[in-house]
Amino acid sequence: MGKQSRRDFLKTSGLIGAGLSGLSSKKAHSGVKKIIADDRMGVLVDTTLCIGCRRCEYACKGAHDIDPGRIEQYDDRSVFKEMRRPQYNAYTVVNEYTDPENPDNPSNVKVQCMHCDHPACLSACIVGAFSKEENGAVIWDEGKCIGCRYCMIACPFQIPQFEYHKALEPEIRKCDLCWESRTKDGGVPACVEICPMEALVYGKRYELLQLAHERIEKNPERYLDHVYGENEVGGTSWLYLAAQDFTKLDFPQLSDEPAPGASEKLQHAIFSYFIPPASLFALLGGIMWINRKQNTTEEE
């Protein structure tokens, strides 16, 4: 028994320590769901197949209660003159890049949350609003979000967007892999469903990796021998195939190490001089939890 309580004590004091030192992400929200399931899902994007029809942008809005407008508006290819980024009201956008070696076949690249296996946003979030679900979706709880925007700074792909225009209760916005409306119940993300070219394939991540490598092997002239997202930042649920170098398609060059390490440092730096309210709550909560735990141990 004594041994047991001692371990509990060590655990809780670790927690307090974490709170004091400015909330080391992982320990601070030990309640946060971060599942890396073997058969988690993912999406393989074949940028050589994508034709830039932007139907995925249209479907995405429809699936997230954003007015998509009329479908024919998406035929306007003049948007490709600029490189666009996801917005608070457009969780995915498609850009176009000319291929100097193949000027007749430009590469179209769909951009959205990559749904990292080790999400930096999740680690950075001080209130534990983020979670990585069993199917791979990285989602967040609007109810918990306090609008601190650390996730935006932490994300290596600069995906989370903030409703700056809203004075009241602005929220963080990003692709949720259609978790709420579709994939939670075994459905397919809206963009994947609408894509006429099947440039997007939704399936188990490990099967998608096999598929991606098979395509490269069968068609070495068509593809660069690299599946983006296989190892970047420790792996992502969204995987990309391309005909030209990924850096030319504006993909950040990232190491294979999970990004959260970087975000932890960031937090430590921010919090080294003061204890933010959330840490304080965590500290108090921690103390309460020790007391309760000790009570129960004694009762046993």
Binding site: G52, I71, D104, N105, V188, E193, P196, E198, G203, L211
Partner: protein
């Protein structure tokens, strides 16, 4: 007695095993229709579907584009957009120079041609992700070509929107597409290329000679043409030496080796003349196709001028001198060849001096 027992035993065991396997296979969690075409497959008539993709032998039942369906209405997936009217025959004809039927019917197993939907499932969450679903299969097939030659990939090129009554007439009316044909492809007489090869810039290519005189089929050279070749105004000719030389070198590699002058010259060149290789063709030979003498593999084997090298079965007894353009009179026809053709050198003029002093051929002829 013993063998009989053993046989009975084996029969019983195998029967029970067979019973088990059939039971097992029928109770497998797959729909019967995945493998069988009929509702009640039997042992004698299992009505099995040809499983595509296992043997990629390609289409083996051949027919012409004319026998293929003319118009196909692709409406398997119509929801937001209306069915697409696909001018199948027109496409089949157009594909003649780019791989034929197998361009689209790519992994057809041996046997008759299958439809796209025989192999590609309409379901998005499929068991087998390696094969695109039906929607992907259609669009990948169409757009891979369409986007590169017309640079148009908006949906309305093939589909009318469900709600759009106006467009219905133009893109969803089967009748409107009937009888459409690709305009006849005109054939150039010759092409004179100005190349980047400074000292010998001009290459003269006689297209009509290759197509008609030398007996090539269009597809012998135009193997993987795409619509872009003629239709894409943005396309630039390849600048890679290998790409440009490839179509010619398939046949001329041996002759060319490193002699650029086989094709390249300072100025435009005349047609190929047989006389230039040392033997002007006359009378009978003039009317022949190159292949008749030089072989059908179109690499045109080099021949010597000895009649025997082609006319292997000619003997003095069965030879009919008339084919040379000179019918011998009765007397001369009975002589041995070498009396006039010294040393049997048939390609040289015959000599009369063995018998007729002062006579020369062709001033004097032994017949007509």
């Amino acid at each position: 007695m013993k063998p009989l027992l053993i046989i009975t035993f084996i029969t019983l065991v195998s029967a029970s095993l067979w019973g088990q396997t059939t039971k097992h296979h029928a109770s497998m969690p797959i729909k019967c229709s995945k493998c069988h075409t009929c509702n009640n497959p039997t042992y004698l008539d299992p009505c099995l579907k040809v499983c595509p993709d296992f043997k990629r032998a390609g289409v083996s039942v051949r027919h012409t584009a004319d026998e293929a369906p003319e118009i196909i209405k692709i409406d398997t997936l119509a929801n937001v957009y209306q069915a697409s009217i696909f001018t199948h025959k027109l496409h089949a004809e157009m594909s003649a120079m780019s791989g034929g039927c197998s361009l689209c019917h790519h992994h057809n197993p041996p046997g008759p041609i299958l439809q796209c939907s025989d192999c590609h499932q309409a379901k998005i969450l499929r068991d087998d992700l390696t094969k695109p679903g039906l929607k992907g299969a259609y669009h990948q097939q169409c757009l891979n070509c369409h986007k590169s030659w017309s640079h148009a990939n908006n949906c309305e090129v093939c589909h009318a929107r469900q709600t759009d009554a106006e467009q219905t007439a133009s893109t969803a009316d089967k009748e409107a597409f009937k009888g459409k044909e690709h305009p006849e492809v005109t054939e150039p007489e010759k092409k004179v290329y100005q190349t980047g090869f400074e000292s010998l810039p001009v290459v003269t290519f006689y297209h009509d000679d290759h197509a008609h005189r030398f007996g090539y089929e269009c597809v012998d050279c135009h193997k993987n043409e795409s619509c872009r070749r003629c239709h894409d105004t943005l396309a630039k000719p390849s600048e890679f030496k290998e790409d440009v030389h490839e179509p010619c070198m398939a046949c001329h590699a041996e002759a060319v080796e490193n002699k650029c002058t086989v094709c390249h010259a300072k100025t435009e060149q005349g047609r190929f003349e047989h006389a230039n290789v040392g033997w002007p063709l006359e009378s009978y030979h003039q009317t022949l196709h190159c292949q008749s003498c030089h072989g059908v593999d179109k690499t045109f084997n080099k021949l010597n001028s000895n009649c025997k090298s082609c006319h292997k079965d000619w003997t003095p007894d069965n030879f009919n001198h008339t084919v040379t353009g000179l019918r011998l009179d009765e007397v001369h026809a009975s002589f041995d060849c070498k009396l006039c053709h010294e040393n049997r050198a048939f390609s040289e003029n015959a000599s009369c001096s063995n018998c007729h002093e002062g006579y020369t051929y062709p001033a004097q002829k032994p017949g007509n």
